[in-house]
Symmetry: C2
Subunit: 366 residues, 2 copies
């Protein structure tokens, strides 16, 4: 019997989680998945209860669970708090403690929402791009780090960007494997683009060399290209459909995946997965905790609901239920239901709905 | 009597430089600027002659000059060369040796070229954004750096992102001052957005704190906001016109300025300046050396010509000649002249021209 830990978090977290949990329970029953749900807290909610953003009992539950479903963390309430216990620290720590090194973010354009993009339709129609981001290494976790006082009295801040071969190979394999799966599903040739800044940074030169060796020894059938991070950021704006799978380190991945998500114009639709070596994962929407609309039943629960689908696919290998959820989401969009973030007032036939109503509509389709 | 050193560089560098130099000579005469021109080599051209990308004699000339005009460096010919003497190293070294810490990149949309953008017209019409990038510090130059072999035999790459208070203040002042000048010229309120990743990186937390203190003590009249790099990259796609001046470190600046440039769709139009503490500067187009079209008279010389205008404005404080060049460029666009990179085959009344013809057209307008 498998267990899913839900961490609603802060801001709009609780309301989107309520809808996602309802969907998860429904498919659990319908497809007899035998999943048990547990609850925990993370981020600001955990700070309020336990004084730290990732309390020991939450971590225990997360370790014991087979998958974690996360809402969103952080908000202005905790902005003044001492750095080491801010909400984001809880997120970084749970990623690291659970060994969730592979972050998968899909930037997929829903045809029903094409107008939401700031890009021209021909540039983004049909966009379906996967960014594989290394999540437990690089400059996010590198030591030494800190702020020190120099001899002349001024301060100096420093961080270390560091990767070793095995870390690069590990994330590279995930990207190559996913490229093969996607190519098979789409009937196309498998290709990945590795993003680095090898012309300046030694650590990313090792990254590039390691990717080349990995491709030559284990994935000769997958096409491997390389791009500097600055150029990749440009090319995503110019012609995002040139990419299928992109793989990169923690910081470039943070930046590029947000940019890629925004190309669609509907970040409220995009789920993500963070996986360990054994397929255990944490699943969460790409968007943040949106404190400005929290508690007003305005949030879009679809990214969290789609995160449930990713969980069923990647951790529980249950493609049928994952696809059923994705179909239900597509159906409610076809019906013209829209939360505020994806509403287009110029289009006719659309109905503005709240978070609850959107969740219930998905449920009804299942 | 002031001196300008021209470094044509590689790829399309020589051909765009020929046109820019002709323009520079013309305004030099017309406005009696008294500038003397010298030549030098940098990048691949220098490797071929002297074995290193920044030869000592080039550096001497650059130190002696009041301003440097650079074409572009690099190309596949030198890709296999040992890291420490690759063309890009020459660029990084000249920036560092001349103390060119302030990199100014303007992302400005020419109304005549609005169609070239991959973004919707309403998102980018009127875009005029300045990115101020710190250019001689941060992870580009931080020590320790390298690739080492660990005890278990695998390799580890590492770089150091480092900034001290004085470096941050120095670039901050440039951004605040430019925001004031721009606001005055546009009749708007002065504002800058500082980009960091203070929720994760200590070095950028110091960056943020230093910007706040600087604003409070010296620039209370300028509005200062902060944005995380991932969000900034997203916001540039979603609504770039929310920004006026952005200021950030070397690596985030590399990425964001390329993204911002591509928003216009016509990177062949964008100049840049890299300034030291005394207004001495190196001026160069934002685009690269485009080896694929080198020597074919297809390159767009306008970004280099506009770099001459920036030079006249920032180093030689000669606004009249700078404005004259900018006007001439705008006039040739009005006349419908287009190089291949900015040609729009759907638009009527345009004439495709080569690099030389474009340069001569600008000259004729002066
Ligand atoms: C909140 C922050 C620490 C986090 C990150 O930088 O990884 C976020 O931006 C993300 O991408 O999940
Ligand atoms: C060529 C490279 C070293 C350089 C940089 O990264 O600074 C370039 O991308 C730039 O922005 O001028």
């Amino acid at each position: 019997m498998a267990t899913v830990l839900t961490l609603a978090g802060d801001g709009i977290g609780p309301e989107i989680m309520t809808q996602a949990v309802a969907v998860l329970k429904a498919v659990n029953e319908k497809f007899e998945l035998g999943l048990t749900l547990e609850e925990g807290d993370l981020g600001g909610a955990a700070i309020d209860r336990a004084g730290v953003p990732l309390p020991e009992d939450t971590l225990q539950k997360a370790r014991a669970a087979d998958a974690v479903l996360l809402g969103a963390v952080g908000g202005p309430k905790w902005d003044g708090i001492e750095r080491s216990i801010r909400p984001e620290r809880g997120l970084l720590k749970i990623r690291s403690e659970l060994g969730l090194f592979a972050n998968l973010r899909v930037a997929k354009l829903y045809p029903q929402l094409a107008n939401a993009s700031s890009l021209k339709p021909e540039i983004i129609s049909g966009l379906d791009l996967l960014i594989v981001r290394e999540l437990t290494g690089g400059i996010y976790f590198g030591e030494p780090r800190g702020i020190r006082t120099l001899e002349n009295g001024e301060q100096q801040g420093y961080n270390t960007m560091v990767y070793k071969t095995s870390e690069i190979e590990r994330i590279g394999k995930v990207a190559f494997e996913l490229a093969k799966i996607r190519a098979k599903a789409n009937g196309t040739a498998a290709k990945i683009c590795s993003v680095d800044k090898a012309n300046v940074l030694e650590v990313t030169e090792l990254w590039k060399q390691t990717m080349i060796k990995l491709q030559q020894s284990e994935y000769p059938e997958v096409e491997l290209s390389h791009m500097y991070a600055d150029n990749a950021c440009m090319q995503l704006v110019r012609d995002p459909k040139q990419f299928d799978v992109m793989v990169t380190g923690n910081m470039f991945g943070d930046i590029l995946s947000d940019e890629a998500a925004m190309l669609t114009g509907s970040i409220g639709m995009l789920p993500s997965a963070s996986l360990d070596e054994n397929g255990k994962g944490m699943y969460e929407p790409c968007h943040g905790s949106a404190p400005d609309i929290a508690g007003q039943d305005k949030a879009n629960p679809l990214a969290t609901i789609l995160s449930v689908a990713m969980m069923l696919r990647y951790t529980f290998k249950h493609e049928v239920s994952a696809a059923a959820i994705e179909q239900a989401v597509s159906d409610v969009l076809d019906d013209g239901l829209r939360t505020g973030d994806i509403m287009d007032s110029d289009e006719t036939g659309l109905t503005l709905v709240g978070c609850k109503q959107m969740g219930e509509a998905v449920l009804a389709k299942l």
